[in-house]
Protein backbone atom coordinates (compact mmCIF):
# COMPACT_ATOMS: atom_id res chain seq x y z
CA UNK A 1 0.00 0.00 0.00
CA UNK A 2 2.82 2.43 0.92
CA UNK A 3 4.51 1.74 -2.40
CA UNK A 4 1.27 2.46 -4.28
CA UNK A 5 0.86 5.77 -2.44
CA UNK A 6 4.44 6.83 -3.20
CA UNK A 7 3.99 5.87 -6.85
CA UNK A 8 0.72 7.81 -7.02
CA UNK A 9 2.35 10.89 -5.41
CA UNK A 10 5.16 10.82 -7.98
CA UNK A 11 2.92 10.21 -11.01
CA UNK A 12 0.19 12.75 -10.11
CA UNK A 13 2.64 15.50 -9.16
CA UNK A 14 4.80 14.89 -12.22
CA UNK A 15 1.71 15.22 -14.43
CA UNK A 16 0.36 18.33 -12.66
CA UNK A 17 3.70 20.13 -12.37
CA UNK A 18 4.66 19.14 -15.92
CA UNK A 19 1.36 20.62 -17.12
CA UNK A 20 1.90 23.78 -15.07
CA UNK A 21 5.40 24.42 -16.40
CA UNK A 22 4.31 23.67 -19.98
CA UNK A 23 1.40 26.13 -19.54
CA UNK A 24 3.75 28.77 -18.05
CA UNK A 25 6.20 28.28 -20.95
CA UNK A 26 3.48 28.60 -23.63
CA UNK A 27 1.81 31.59 -21.91
CA UNK A 28 5.13 33.42 -21.57
CA UNK A 29 5.85 32.77 -25.22
CA UNK A 30 2.49 34.17 -26.36
CA UNK A 31 2.88 37.16 -24.01
CA UNK A 32 6.20 37.94 -25.73
CA UNK A 33 4.36 38.26 -29.03
CA UNK A 34 6.20 35.27 -30.48
CA UNK A 35 3.85 32.55 -31.65
CA UNK A 36 6.50 30.40 -33.39
Amino acid sequence: MEFQIILMVIVLNAVVLGGVFLAAYCLNKTASGSRK
Binding site: V9, V11, N13, V20, N28, T30, A31
Partner: protein
Protein backbone atom coordinates in the same frame (compact mmCIF):
# COMPACT_ATOMS: atom_id res chain seq x y z
CA UNK B 1 -37.07 21.77 -12.76
CA UNK B 2 -38.67 25.15 -13.35
CA UNK B 3 -36.07 27.89 -13.53
CA UNK B 4 -38.66 30.42 -14.78
CA UNK B 5 -40.54 31.86 -11.75
CA UNK B 6 -44.09 30.57 -11.37
CA UNK B 7 -44.99 32.52 -8.22
CA UNK B 8 -44.53 36.02 -6.77
CA UNK B 9 -42.24 34.68 -4.03
CA UNK B 10 -40.02 32.96 -6.59
CA UNK B 11 -39.78 36.11 -8.74
CA UNK B 12 -39.09 38.22 -5.65
CA UNK B 13 -36.17 36.14 -4.37
CA UNK B 14 -34.80 35.90 -7.91
CA UNK B 15 -34.66 39.63 -8.70
CA UNK B 16 -34.41 41.07 -5.17
CA UNK B 17 -30.60 40.98 -5.04
CA UNK B 18 -30.00 42.62 -8.42
CA UNK B 19 -30.13 46.27 -7.20
CA UNK B 20 -27.43 45.88 -4.52
CA UNK B 21 -25.01 43.85 -6.65
CA UNK B 22 -25.83 45.83 -9.81
CA UNK B 23 -25.25 49.17 -8.09
CA UNK B 24 -21.92 48.03 -6.62
CA UNK B 25 -20.71 46.99 -10.09
CA UNK B 26 -22.14 49.92 -12.08
CA UNK B 27 -20.89 52.50 -9.57
CA UNK B 28 -17.44 50.88 -9.76
CA UNK B 29 -17.44 51.19 -13.57
CA UNK B 30 -18.86 54.73 -13.31
CA UNK B 31 -16.00 55.79 -10.99
CA UNK B 32 -13.52 54.23 -13.44
CA UNK B 33 -15.19 56.25 -16.23
CA UNK B 34 -14.93 59.46 -14.18
CA UNK B 35 -11.29 58.90 -13.23
CA UNK B 36 -10.14 58.06 -16.76
CA UNK B 37 -12.45 60.63 -18.38
CA UNK B 38 -14.05 57.90 -20.51
CA UNK B 39 -17.40 59.31 -21.59
CA UNK B 40 -18.63 56.12 -23.29
CA UNK B 41 -18.22 54.09 -20.07
CA UNK B 42 -20.04 56.80 -18.09
CA UNK B 43 -22.93 56.87 -20.57
CA UNK B 44 -23.33 53.08 -20.48
CA UNK B 45 -23.28 53.13 -16.65
CA UNK B 46 -25.86 55.92 -16.50
CA UNK B 47 -28.12 54.04 -18.96
CA UNK B 48 -27.76 50.79 -16.98
CA UNK B 49 -28.42 52.56 -13.63
CA UNK B 50 -31.59 54.05 -15.16
CA UNK B 51 -32.60 50.56 -16.39
CA UNK B 52 -31.79 49.04 -12.99
CA UNK B 53 -34.15 51.57 -11.38
CA UNK B 54 -36.98 50.13 -13.53
CA UNK B 55 -36.44 46.84 -11.69
CA UNK B 56 -38.04 48.60 -8.69
CA UNK B 57 -41.47 47.93 -10.27
CA UNK B 58 -41.31 44.09 -10.47
CA UNK B 59 -39.52 43.97 -7.09
CA UNK B 60 -42.29 46.00 -5.46
CA UNK B 61 -45.12 44.11 -7.18
CA UNK B 62 -43.60 40.69 -6.42
CA UNK B 63 -42.96 41.83 -2.84
CA UNK B 64 -46.64 42.68 -2.38
CA UNK B 65 -47.58 39.37 -4.01
CA UNK B 66 -45.23 37.42 -1.70
CA UNK B 67 -46.52 39.25 1.35
CA UNK B 68 -50.10 38.32 0.46
CA UNK B 69 -49.11 34.70 -0.23
CA UNK B 70 -47.25 34.33 3.08
CA UNK B 71 -49.81 36.21 5.20
CA UNK B 72 -51.23 34.05 7.99
CA UNK B 73 -48.45 31.45 7.64
CA UNK B 74 -47.06 30.95 11.16
CA UNK B 75 -43.61 30.05 9.75
CA UNK B 76 -42.99 33.65 8.72
CA UNK B 77 -42.73 36.40 11.32
CA UNK B 78 -44.98 39.39 10.55
CA UNK B 79 -42.48 41.68 12.32
CA UNK B 80 -39.60 40.46 10.16
CA UNK B 81 -41.69 41.00 7.01
CA UNK B 82 -42.70 44.51 8.17
CA UNK B 83 -39.08 45.54 8.89
CA UNK B 84 -37.90 44.16 5.54
CA UNK B 85 -40.77 46.02 3.81
CA UNK B 86 -39.88 49.36 5.44
CA UNK B 87 -36.19 49.21 4.49
CA UNK B 88 -36.99 47.89 1.00
CA UNK B 89 -39.29 50.86 0.31
CA UNK B 90 -36.49 53.23 1.37
CA UNK B 91 -34.00 51.33 -0.84
CA UNK B 92 -36.35 51.35 -3.83
CA UNK B 93 -37.05 55.09 -3.46
CA UNK B 94 -33.29 55.77 -3.41
CA UNK B 95 -32.86 53.41 -6.41
CA UNK B 96 -35.56 55.23 -8.42
CA UNK B 97 -34.02 58.61 -7.55
CA UNK B 98 -30.56 57.37 -8.67
CA UNK B 99 -32.11 56.08 -11.90
CA UNK B 100 -33.92 59.39 -12.50
CA UNK B 101 -30.72 61.38 -11.85
CA UNK B 102 -28.80 59.09 -14.24
CA UNK B 103 -31.47 59.43 -16.96
CA UNK B 104 -31.50 63.24 -16.48
CA UNK B 105 -27.68 63.41 -16.83
CA UNK B 106 -27.84 61.37 -20.02
CA UNK B 107 -30.67 63.48 -21.46
CA UNK B 108 -28.84 66.73 -20.63
CA UNK B 109 -25.61 65.54 -22.28
CA UNK B 110 -27.53 64.31 -25.33
CA UNK B 111 -29.42 67.62 -25.70
CA UNK B 112 -26.25 69.71 -25.38
CA UNK B 113 -24.26 67.24 -27.55
CA UNK B 114 -21.47 67.18 -24.93
CA UNK B 115 -19.85 64.56 -22.71
CA UNK B 116 -21.74 63.59 -19.53
CA UNK B 117 -20.97 65.55 -16.37
CA UNK B 118 -21.68 64.81 -12.74
CA UNK B 119 -20.61 68.12 -11.15
CA UNK B 120 -22.19 67.47 -7.75
CA UNK B 121 -21.66 63.69 -7.86
CA UNK B 122 -25.42 63.38 -7.65
CA UNK B 123 -25.71 59.97 -9.35
CA UNK B 124 -22.74 58.67 -7.37
CA UNK B 125 -24.08 59.97 -4.04
CA UNK B 126 -27.63 58.71 -4.58
CA UNK B 127 -26.26 55.42 -5.93
CA UNK B 128 -24.16 54.84 -2.79
CA UNK B 129 -27.18 55.60 -0.54
CA UNK B 130 -29.36 53.23 -2.61
CA UNK B 131 -26.64 50.55 -2.42
CA UNK B 132 -26.35 50.74 1.39
CA UNK B 133 -30.14 50.66 1.83
CA UNK B 134 -30.45 47.76 -0.63
CA UNK B 135 -27.82 45.75 1.29
CA UNK B 136 -29.75 46.30 4.55
CA UNK B 137 -33.04 45.35 2.82
CA UNK B 138 -31.42 42.18 1.38
CA UNK B 139 -30.12 41.17 4.80
CA UNK B 140 -33.55 41.71 6.40
CA UNK B 141 -35.13 39.80 3.51
CA UNK B 142 -32.90 36.81 4.30
CA UNK B 143 -34.13 36.87 7.89
CA UNK B 144 -37.78 36.54 6.79
CA UNK B 145 -37.25 33.03 5.50
CA UNK B 146 -33.96 31.81 6.92
CA UNK B 147 -34.91 31.52 10.58
CA UNK B 148 -32.21 28.89 11.04
CA UNK B 149 -29.61 31.69 10.93
CA UNK B 150 -30.80 32.86 14.35
CA UNK B 151 -30.42 29.44 15.97
CA UNK B 152 -28.66 29.98 19.28
CA UNK B 153 -28.51 26.38 20.52
CA UNK B 154 -25.28 24.70 19.46
CA UNK B 155 -23.74 21.42 20.52
CA UNK B 156 -19.94 21.74 20.93
CA UNK B 157 -17.96 19.64 18.39
CA UNK B 158 -21.20 18.62 16.65
CA UNK B 159 -22.99 21.77 15.43
CA UNK B 160 -21.50 23.74 12.56
CA UNK B 161 -21.86 27.51 13.13
CA UNK B 162 -24.81 28.95 11.16
CA UNK B 163 -22.48 31.82 10.23
CA UNK B 164 -21.33 29.53 7.38
CA UNK B 165 -24.91 29.31 6.02
CA UNK B 166 -25.25 33.07 6.37
CA UNK B 167 -21.97 33.63 4.49
CA UNK B 168 -23.08 31.21 1.75
CA UNK B 169 -26.43 32.98 1.29
CA UNK B 170 -24.69 36.34 0.86
CA UNK B 171 -21.71 35.18 -1.21
CA UNK B 172 -23.55 32.99 -3.74
CA UNK B 173 -25.37 36.00 -5.20
CA UNK B 174 -22.12 37.77 -6.12
CA UNK B 175 -20.97 35.39 -8.89
CA UNK B 176 -24.53 34.70 -10.12
CA UNK B 177 -25.88 38.25 -10.37
CA UNK B 178 -22.34 39.56 -10.96
CA UNK B 179 -22.00 37.45 -14.12
CA UNK B 180 -25.23 38.92 -15.57
CA UNK B 181 -23.79 42.46 -15.29
CA UNK B 182 -20.29 41.37 -16.33
CA UNK B 183 -21.63 39.73 -19.51
CA UNK B 184 -23.79 42.80 -20.35
CA UNK B 185 -20.85 45.18 -19.85
CA UNK B 186 -18.45 42.86 -21.69
CA UNK B 187 -20.71 42.53 -24.76
CA UNK B 188 -21.12 46.34 -24.83
CA UNK B 189 -17.33 46.73 -24.60
CA UNK B 190 -16.77 44.25 -27.45
CA UNK B 191 -19.37 45.89 -29.70
CA UNK B 192 -18.10 49.42 -29.01
CA UNK B 193 -14.43 48.30 -28.91
CA UNK B 194 -13.89 50.16 -25.61
CA UNK B 195 -10.66 49.04 -23.91
CA UNK B 196 -11.51 50.42 -20.44
CA UNK B 197 -14.75 48.45 -20.34
CA UNK B 198 -13.05 45.34 -21.73
CA UNK B 199 -10.45 45.52 -18.96
CA UNK B 200 -13.10 46.32 -16.33
CA UNK B 201 -15.30 43.41 -17.41
CA UNK B 202 -12.35 40.97 -17.36
CA UNK B 203 -11.49 42.16 -13.83
CA UNK B 204 -15.15 41.71 -12.84
CA UNK B 205 -15.20 38.14 -14.23
CA UNK B 206 -12.07 37.31 -12.23
CA UNK B 207 -13.52 38.86 -9.02
CA UNK B 208 -16.74 36.81 -9.42
CA UNK B 209 -14.64 33.67 -9.93
CA UNK B 210 -12.51 34.42 -6.85
CA UNK B 211 -15.68 34.85 -4.74
CA UNK B 212 -16.82 31.48 -6.12
CA UNK B 213 -14.19 29.73 -3.97
CA UNK B 214 -15.40 30.87 -0.50
CA UNK B 215 -18.99 30.47 -1.77
CA UNK B 216 -18.35 26.79 -2.52
CA UNK B 217 -16.55 26.19 0.78
CA UNK B 218 -19.26 27.99 2.79
CA UNK B 219 -21.86 25.95 0.89
CA UNK B 220 -20.26 22.69 2.02
CA UNK B 221 -20.18 24.01 5.60
CA UNK B 222 -23.83 25.11 5.29
CA UNK B 223 -24.74 21.52 4.34
CA UNK B 224 -23.42 20.33 7.71
CA UNK B 225 -24.97 23.30 9.53
CA UNK B 226 -28.40 22.33 8.16
CA UNK B 227 -28.22 18.58 8.51
CA UNK B 228 -26.05 17.67 11.50
CA UNK B 229 -27.98 17.93 13.78
CA UNK B 230 -31.11 18.40 11.65
CA UNK B 231 -32.96 21.72 11.98
CA UNK B 232 -36.25 21.36 13.82
CA UNK B 233 -39.33 22.70 11.94
CA UNK B 234 -37.47 22.75 8.60
CA UNK B 235 -37.84 20.12 5.92
CA UNK B 236 -34.27 20.03 4.69
CA UNK B 237 -33.28 17.06 2.60
CA UNK B 238 -29.68 15.95 2.17
CA UNK B 239 -30.63 14.47 -1.22
CA UNK B 240 -31.80 17.92 -2.45
CA UNK B 241 -28.60 19.48 -1.07
CA UNK B 242 -26.51 16.85 -2.89
CA UNK B 243 -28.21 17.62 -6.18
CA UNK B 244 -27.35 21.32 -5.62
CA UNK B 245 -23.77 20.37 -4.70
CA UNK B 246 -23.31 18.36 -7.88
CA UNK B 247 -24.35 21.34 -9.97
CA UNK B 248 -22.18 23.63 -7.81
CA UNK B 249 -19.21 21.44 -8.70
CA UNK B 250 -19.85 22.15 -12.39
CA UNK B 251 -20.22 25.83 -11.54
CA UNK B 252 -16.83 25.79 -9.85
CA UNK B 253 -15.26 24.30 -12.99
CA UNK B 254 -17.09 26.86 -15.17
CA UNK B 255 -15.85 29.68 -12.95
CA UNK B 256 -12.32 28.28 -13.00
CA UNK B 257 -12.29 28.19 -16.83
CA UNK B 258 -13.86 31.64 -17.24
CA UNK B 259 -11.66 33.19 -14.54
CA UNK B 260 -8.54 31.54 -15.96
CA UNK B 261 -9.09 32.76 -19.53
CA UNK B 262 -10.08 36.25 -18.30
CA UNK B 263 -7.03 36.54 -16.02
CA UNK B 264 -4.61 35.21 -18.66
CA UNK B 265 -5.93 37.79 -21.15
CA UNK B 266 -5.52 40.59 -18.57
CA UNK B 267 -1.98 39.46 -17.85
CA UNK B 268 -1.00 38.81 -21.47
CA UNK B 269 -2.45 42.07 -22.82
CA UNK B 270 -0.08 44.00 -20.53
CA UNK B 271 3.00 42.79 -22.40
CA UNK B 272 1.38 42.79 -25.85
CA UNK B 273 -0.33 46.17 -25.41
CA UNK B 274 -3.54 44.87 -27.02
CA UNK B 275 -6.31 42.33 -26.45
CA UNK B 276 -6.64 39.14 -28.47
CA UNK B 277 -10.04 38.91 -30.16
CA UNK B 278 -10.02 35.12 -29.93
CA UNK B 279 -9.33 35.15 -26.17
CA UNK B 280 -12.04 37.76 -25.53
CA UNK B 281 -14.58 35.68 -27.49
CA UNK B 282 -13.49 32.61 -25.53
CA UNK B 283 -14.10 34.48 -22.24
CA UNK B 284 -17.60 35.39 -23.46
CA UNK B 285 -18.34 31.79 -24.47
CA UNK B 286 -17.18 30.38 -21.11
CA UNK B 287 -19.04 33.12 -19.22
CA UNK B 288 -22.36 32.41 -20.98
CA UNK B 289 -22.02 28.64 -20.41
CA UNK B 290 -21.08 29.23 -16.75
CA UNK B 291 -24.03 31.57 -16.23
CA UNK B 292 -26.33 28.83 -17.57
CA UNK B 293 -24.85 26.30 -15.13
CA UNK B 294 -25.05 28.83 -12.28
CA UNK B 295 -28.73 29.51 -12.98
CA UNK B 296 -29.57 25.83 -12.51
CA UNK B 297 -27.25 25.63 -9.46
CA UNK B 298 -28.97 28.64 -7.90
CA UNK B 299 -32.41 27.18 -8.60
CA UNK B 300 -31.47 23.86 -6.98
CA UNK B 301 -30.03 25.81 -4.03
CA UNK B 302 -33.29 27.72 -3.67
CA UNK B 303 -35.26 24.46 -3.54
CA UNK B 304 -33.34 23.39 -0.38
CA UNK B 305 -34.90 25.92 1.98
CA UNK B 306 -37.75 27.58 0.03
CA UNK B 307 -40.76 25.26 0.06
CA UNK B 308 -42.87 28.21 -1.13
CA UNK B 309 -41.23 28.16 -4.59
CA UNK B 310 -41.66 24.43 -5.14
CA UNK B 311 -44.30 23.34 -7.63
CA UNK B 312 -46.45 20.25 -7.43
CA UNK B 313 -44.81 19.06 -10.64
CA UNK B 314 -41.27 19.36 -9.19
CA UNK B 315 -39.73 15.94 -8.59
CA UNK B 316 -37.13 16.34 -5.86
CA UNK B 317 -34.34 13.79 -5.37
CA UNK B 318 -34.81 11.46 -2.40
CA UNK B 319 -31.65 9.33 -2.32
CA UNK B 320 -28.83 11.08 -0.41
CA UNK B 321 -26.26 8.45 -1.39
CA UNK B 322 -26.05 9.12 -5.11
CA UNK B 323 -24.29 11.81 -7.16
CA UNK B 324 -20.85 12.98 -8.20
CA UNK B 325 -20.08 14.77 -4.91
CA UNK B 326 -20.85 11.67 -2.83
CA UNK B 327 -18.65 9.61 -5.18
CA UNK B 328 -15.71 12.04 -4.89
CA UNK B 329 -16.14 12.08 -1.09
CA UNK B 330 -15.77 8.30 -0.97
CA UNK B 331 -12.73 8.44 -3.24
CA UNK B 332 -10.97 11.23 -1.31
CA UNK B 333 -11.39 9.39 2.00
CA UNK B 334 -8.82 6.86 0.71
CA UNK B 335 -5.15 7.63 1.44
CA UNK B 336 -4.10 6.73 -2.09
CA UNK B 337 -6.04 9.73 -3.43
CA UNK B 338 -5.79 12.15 -0.48
CA UNK B 339 -1.99 12.12 -0.04
CA UNK B 340 -1.04 12.77 -3.72
CA UNK B 341 -3.51 15.67 -3.96
CA UNK B 342 -2.21 17.07 -0.67
CA UNK B 343 1.29 17.06 -2.20
CA UNK B 344 -0.07 18.92 -5.25
CA UNK B 345 -1.58 21.44 -2.80
CA UNK B 346 1.83 22.05 -1.17
CA UNK B 347 3.55 22.49 -4.54
CA UNK B 348 0.79 24.97 -5.41
CA UNK B 349 1.65 27.05 -2.34
CA UNK B 350 5.33 27.01 -3.31
CA UNK B 351 4.38 28.52 -6.68
CA UNK B 352 2.01 31.10 -5.18
CA UNK B 353 4.33 32.20 -2.41
CA UNK B 354 7.41 32.25 -4.68
CA UNK B 355 5.71 34.50 -7.26
CA UNK B 356 4.07 36.69 -4.61
CA UNK B 357 7.36 37.13 -2.73
CA UNK B 358 9.21 38.25 -5.87
CA UNK B 359 6.49 40.85 -6.65
CA UNK B 360 6.39 42.01 -3.01
CA UNK B 361 10.20 42.43 -2.91
CA UNK B 362 10.13 44.58 -6.06
CA UNK B 363 7.16 46.71 -5.00
CA UNK B 364 8.48 47.33 -1.48
CA UNK B 365 11.79 48.48 -2.99
CA UNK B 366 14.15 45.62 -2.03
CA UNK B 367 14.77 44.67 -5.67
CA UNK B 368 14.74 47.99 -7.50
CA UNK B 369 17.26 46.95 -10.15
CA UNK B 370 14.45 45.32 -12.19
CA UNK B 371 11.32 46.92 -13.63
CA UNK B 372 7.91 45.87 -12.31
CA UNK B 373 7.16 44.45 -15.78
CA UNK B 374 9.86 41.80 -15.20
CA UNK B 375 8.20 40.56 -11.99
CA UNK B 376 4.78 40.83 -13.67
CA UNK B 377 5.90 37.92 -15.89
CA UNK B 378 6.25 35.76 -12.77
CA UNK B 379 2.63 36.32 -11.77
CA UNK B 380 1.54 33.60 -14.20
CA UNK B 381 3.28 31.02 -12.00
CA UNK B 382 1.38 32.29 -8.96
CA UNK B 383 -1.85 32.17 -10.95
CA UNK B 384 -1.22 28.56 -11.98
CA UNK B 385 -0.50 27.79 -8.32
CA UNK B 386 -3.88 29.26 -7.33
CA UNK B 387 -5.58 27.13 -10.00
CA UNK B 388 -3.77 23.99 -8.75
CA UNK B 389 -4.81 24.73 -5.17
CA UNK B 390 -8.45 25.49 -5.96
CA UNK B 391 -8.76 22.02 -7.53
CA UNK B 392 -6.59 20.15 -4.99
CA UNK B 393 -8.04 22.08 -2.02
CA UNK B 394 -11.59 21.33 -3.13
CA UNK B 395 -10.74 17.62 -3.47
CA UNK B 396 -9.07 17.56 -0.04
CA UNK B 397 -12.08 19.26 1.53
CA UNK B 398 -14.26 16.49 0.13
CA UNK B 399 -12.21 14.01 2.18
CA UNK B 400 -13.09 15.46 5.59
CA UNK B 401 -15.23 18.59 5.26
CA UNK B 402 -17.20 18.05 8.49
CA UNK B 403 -14.02 18.04 10.61
CA UNK B 404 -12.69 21.18 8.87
CA UNK B 405 -15.79 23.27 9.56
CA UNK B 406 -16.69 21.96 13.02
CA UNK B 407 -13.40 21.25 14.79
CA UNK B 408 -10.67 23.18 12.96
CA UNK B 409 -10.64 26.79 14.12
CA UNK B 410 -8.13 27.96 11.50
CA UNK B 411 -10.25 26.84 8.52
CA UNK B 412 -12.54 29.91 8.46
CA UNK B 413 -9.67 32.48 8.54
CA UNK B 414 -7.87 30.49 5.84
CA UNK B 415 -10.92 30.62 3.57
CA UNK B 416 -11.39 34.35 4.29
CA UNK B 417 -7.74 35.15 3.48
CA UNK B 418 -7.75 33.34 0.10
CA UNK B 419 -9.93 35.93 -1.73
CA UNK B 420 -7.98 38.78 -0.11
CA UNK B 421 -4.67 37.35 -1.39
CA UNK B 422 -6.16 36.59 -4.82
CA UNK B 423 -7.64 40.11 -5.17
CA UNK B 424 -4.21 41.58 -4.37
CA UNK B 425 -2.68 39.43 -7.16
CA UNK B 426 -5.44 40.75 -9.45
CA UNK B 427 -4.51 44.34 -8.52
CA UNK B 428 -0.90 43.76 -9.58
CA UNK B 429 -2.02 42.03 -12.78
CA UNK B 430 -4.26 44.90 -13.89
CA UNK B 431 -2.92 48.16 -12.40
CA UNK B 432 -1.68 50.73 -14.94
CA UNK B 433 0.38 52.75 -12.46
CA UNK B 434 2.32 49.76 -11.14
CA UNK B 435 2.93 48.38 -14.65
CA UNK B 436 4.74 51.61 -15.58
CA UNK B 437 7.25 51.40 -12.68
CA UNK B 438 10.66 51.22 -14.41
CA UNK B 439 13.95 49.83 -13.01
CA UNK B 440 15.28 52.11 -10.27
CA UNK B 441 11.87 53.78 -9.67
CA UNK B 442 9.80 53.46 -6.50
CA UNK B 443 6.33 51.89 -6.65
CA UNK B 444 3.31 54.03 -5.60
CA UNK B 445 2.45 53.98 -1.89
CA UNK B 446 -0.92 52.27 -2.54
CA UNK B 447 0.90 49.42 -4.30
CA UNK B 448 3.21 49.04 -1.31
CA UNK B 449 0.24 48.66 1.04
CA UNK B 450 -1.40 46.16 -1.30
CA UNK B 451 1.90 44.23 -1.48
CA UNK B 452 2.10 44.06 2.32
CA UNK B 453 -1.53 42.85 2.51
CA UNK B 454 -0.82 40.26 -0.23
CA UNK B 455 2.22 38.90 1.62
CA UNK B 456 0.40 38.70 4.96
CA UNK B 457 -2.72 37.17 3.36
CA UNK B 458 -0.85 34.34 1.63
CA UNK B 459 1.40 33.75 4.66
CA UNK B 460 -1.81 33.58 6.73
CA UNK B 461 -3.40 31.09 4.31
CA UNK B 462 -0.36 28.81 4.56
CA UNK B 463 -0.08 29.09 8.36
CA UNK B 464 -3.81 28.54 8.91
CA UNK B 465 -3.73 25.58 6.50
CA UNK B 466 -0.79 23.98 8.32
CA UNK B 467 -2.46 24.50 11.72
CA UNK B 468 -5.69 22.77 10.59
CA UNK B 469 -5.08 19.42 12.28
CA UNK B 470 -3.72 20.97 15.48
CA UNK B 471 -5.94 23.90 16.49
Amino acid sequence: MHVIPQSWSHLHILIGVFPSIGLAILLGFYIAGLRTNNDFTRRICLALIALLALLAIPILVSGFGSRAALAGNAKYSADAIATHYMWSIAALVALVLSGAAAAFQLWQAWQAKRPTKDPFYLVLGLGVVAFVLAVVADELGLKVDHTELQLAVTIPDISTPQAWSHAHLILNHIPTAGFVFAIALFITALVADNDLMKRGSLVLFVICCIIGVPTYVAGTAAMWALTQPPIVDKEISLAVINSHRDMALWTLFGLAFTGAVAWIELWRSRSLGRFSKLSLNLVLLFAVITLGIMTETGHRGGLINHPEIRLASDVLPTDANVGTSVGIEEMMKQMIWFVPWQTVHFFGYCLIFGAVFAVVLRVLGFWKSVSFAATHRLLVLGFLGVLMNVVSGMLMMFGDSYRYVVSDTTFAPKVALIPIGAMAVLYFSASDRVWNVKAGESAPTTAKWVAAVMLLAWAGVIICGRMLPYL
